[in-house]
């Protein structure tokens, strides 16, 4: 069993390992046809498997160990990224990366959550779980963006805000609340993309946006499937059932009008073709940037407010 593949990807993994084996044969003359046939078969199989993914399988793709993280995108999506550090009050939180960059020639403020791939990186970035100082750094940069009329682009990828002792002591609740408060009327365009996992308030705290986008196999939820399952069924292992209930996929959320745009993923998910994913993300960002910058800023802020007020379903 290939550990870089999820359970439901294993049949694809088998074909792919055969293809790799063939590719490593030196004399290609006799195998071209066979290679082509196998590649076609692998693509067809991937298409078939991905045509009927369950919500739980999508949640697993959103957290796939080989999925691209924020830092994997920055160099290809933006030009001239200059990282900025610290909240000016307590610390720099590496779970949130921030800085100035160029997108399609426009200066923007970038803010993104970083999970980390190796164990060492995961520890450094705290598995993408920001502390209050991370949210306060983000807010500092967003206010700067407003001051210098720079659109804001945020990448969301977090299991949630960090539930630690220090985080509570330094006001995790207040830090998140403050960001929601300020972002709601910030006088500069805000574009957010869920690139992997959108974990509750920890995600929303950098995700109050004019354009809310999600990669196709990313998730965005009020509670993790595991957390939901342990409350409803007293069993975190029933996360697959909870994932279906929570309607946390891009398709569900688009249907409910809770997000604006779904960004397509390469066949088999981002991890199968990272380069194509970067191109798709850049294209989507450029398009949304053109739209928001073409709108008068007062009108944009008004539209953002109207959208926020419209969220919710009830009987009056």
């Amino acid at each position: 069993m290939n550990l870089n593949y999820l359970n439901f990807e294993q049949p694809i993994a088998e074909l792919e390992s055969k293809i790799q084996a063939l590719k490593s044969i030196e004399d290609k003359a006799d195998i071209t046809q066979e290679l082509q046939a196998l590649t076609n078969k692998s693509n067809l199989l991937t298409k078939k498997i991905f045509a009927s993914l369950s919500d739980w399988q999508i949640a697993q793709l959103a957290r796939h160990p080989n999925r691209l993280y924020t830092l994997d995108y920055i160099d290809s999506v933006f030009d001239e990224f200059i990282e900025l550090h610290g909240d000016r009050a307590y610390a720099d939180d590496p779970a949130i990366i921030g800085g100035i960059a160029k997108l399609d020639g426009t200066s923007i403020m970038f803010i993104g959550q970083q999970k980390g791939r190796t164990t060492q990186e995961k520890i450094k970035h705290n598995f993408g779980m920001p502390k209050p100082e991370g949210y306060r750094k983000a807010l500092r940069l967003m206010k700067m963006a407003e001051k210098f009329s720079m659109p804001i682009v945020t990448f969301i990828d977090t299991p949630g805000a960090y539930p630690g002792i220090g985080a509570e002591e330094r006001g995790q609740s207040e830090a998140i609340a403050r960001n929601l408060f300020e972002m709601s009327t910030l006088a500069t365009p805000i574009i957010s993309v869920v690139i992997g996992e959108g974990g509750s308030g920890g995600a929303l705290a950098i995700g109050v946006a004019d354009k809310m986008m999600m990669f196709k196999y990313s998730i965005y939820s009020v509670i993790s499937p595991e957390g939901c399952a342990s409350i409803l069924y007293q069993d975190a292992a029933k996360a697959n059932i909870a994932a279906e209930s929570l309607k946390l996929t891009s398709t569900h959320l688009k249907n409910k009008g809770l997000i604006d745009v779904i960004i397509n993923e390469p066949l088999g998910g981002i991890h199968r073709n990272p380069d194509q994913a970067k191109v798709l993300l850049k294209k989507a960002l450029k398009q949304q940037l053109q739209e928001v910058t073409a709108t008068n800023i007062n009108q944009l802020v008004q539209q953002r407010a109207d959208k926020l007020l419209s969220f919710g379903q009830f009987q009056d």
């Binding site: 998140i176 609340a177 408060f181 009020v222 409350i231 926020l308 009056d316």
Partner: protein, 284 residues
């Protein structure tokens, strides 16, 4: 059954056990037997140990507002089931049972009225309604309360008591956080005061949105207030939590709240604060 609902009936049953119906109540903290009529006049604070009992939204509002001139805002807003949420019990059934148990439509009750003659809009959580969880109805009611404040210029006050966002409404619940934060930003731009009163418990999505966005933060003594629940924090850090962690006194020390006020003094303290904050309106 959610963990909150699991806790709730056991609390009520403890209080009622071995006590003649309605006449006596038992303090959950010091277990003193208390005369129900007396307890009512003490705003449900134990006279022996000062324990502030959890109280219903109606008792809260009736005890806080002047008796005359109360009007309830958006009393008929009711939850729907936007996700057709799959669970052992249907969401609609949970709503129905909560309504039956509490006699409320949802977890927030909003009233306009007066405090020592001063016009105010007050929202109070009904914790027994699905753990005071915030779904679309709570968010919308809070928005309507703030809108009324903006129309009339009356200060907004909210008594929070909530476990957080209501997971049965999924991302709709999460969006109530940004929705309520926005309306407070608009209220703030109009320079109308918002006083947030944190009562036991105020956690999760409610704590991480409007409850922590007051001009003034007041907590009742020993209330549990925080983002993540203490058990989650304990499991994450794998060490013992400091004494009094996430309690009002802890938050005061860490700088998250302005003051801790005994329930009997809330009316006068809030009135005093509002008079100071609204001085310009009176003068001009």
């Amino acid at each position: 059954m959610s963990w909150l609902e699991k806790i709730l009936p056991s609390i009520t049953s403890v209080a009622k056990k071995n006590i003649p119906e309605g006449l006596w109540e038992k303090c959950l903290k010091c277990e003193a037997t208390l005369y129900a009529e007396e307890l009512k006049t003490l705003n449900y604070v134990c006279p022996k140990c000062d324990y502030h009992m959890r109280i219903s939204a109606r008792i809260r509002l009736d005890g806080f507002l002047d008796e005359d001139g109360q009007t309830e805002i958006a009393p008929d807003l009711t939850a729907v089931d936007p996700l057709k949420f799959k669970d052992q019990k249907k969401y609609k059934e949970r709503i129905y049972l909560a309504q039956k148990n509490t006699d409320e439509k949802d977890a927030l009750v909003v009233k306009s009225g007066t405090l020592h003659g001063m016009g105010v809009v007050v929202a109070a959580f009904e914790f027994k309604f699905m753990g005071g969880s915030m779904g679309s109805v709570v968010g919308e009611k809070f928005v309507r309360a703030a809108q009324l404040s903006m129309e009339t210029g009356a200060p907004l006050i909210c008594f929070s008591a909530s476990g957080g966002a209501r997971m049965q409404e999924g991302l709709f619940s999460l969006m109530q956080m940004s929705k309520t934060a926005l309306i407070l930003k608009l209220l703030s731009d109009k320079k109308i005061p918002f006083i947030s009163i944190l009562t036991d418990p105020t956690m999760g999505g409610v704590s991480a949105s409007f409850a922590m966005l007051g001009d003034i933060h007041i907590a009742e003594p020993n209330a549990l207030i925080g983002f993540a629940g203490p058990r989650v924090v304990e499991q994450t850090v794998r060490e013992e939590l400091p004494e009094g962690f996430q309690r009002s006194e802890f938050l005061l020390e860490k700088g998250a709240i302005d003051m801790i006020v005994h329930r009997r003094d809330l009316r006068s303290k809030v009135h005093q604060l509002l008079q100071a904050l609204c001085h310009s309106q009176k003068n001009g």
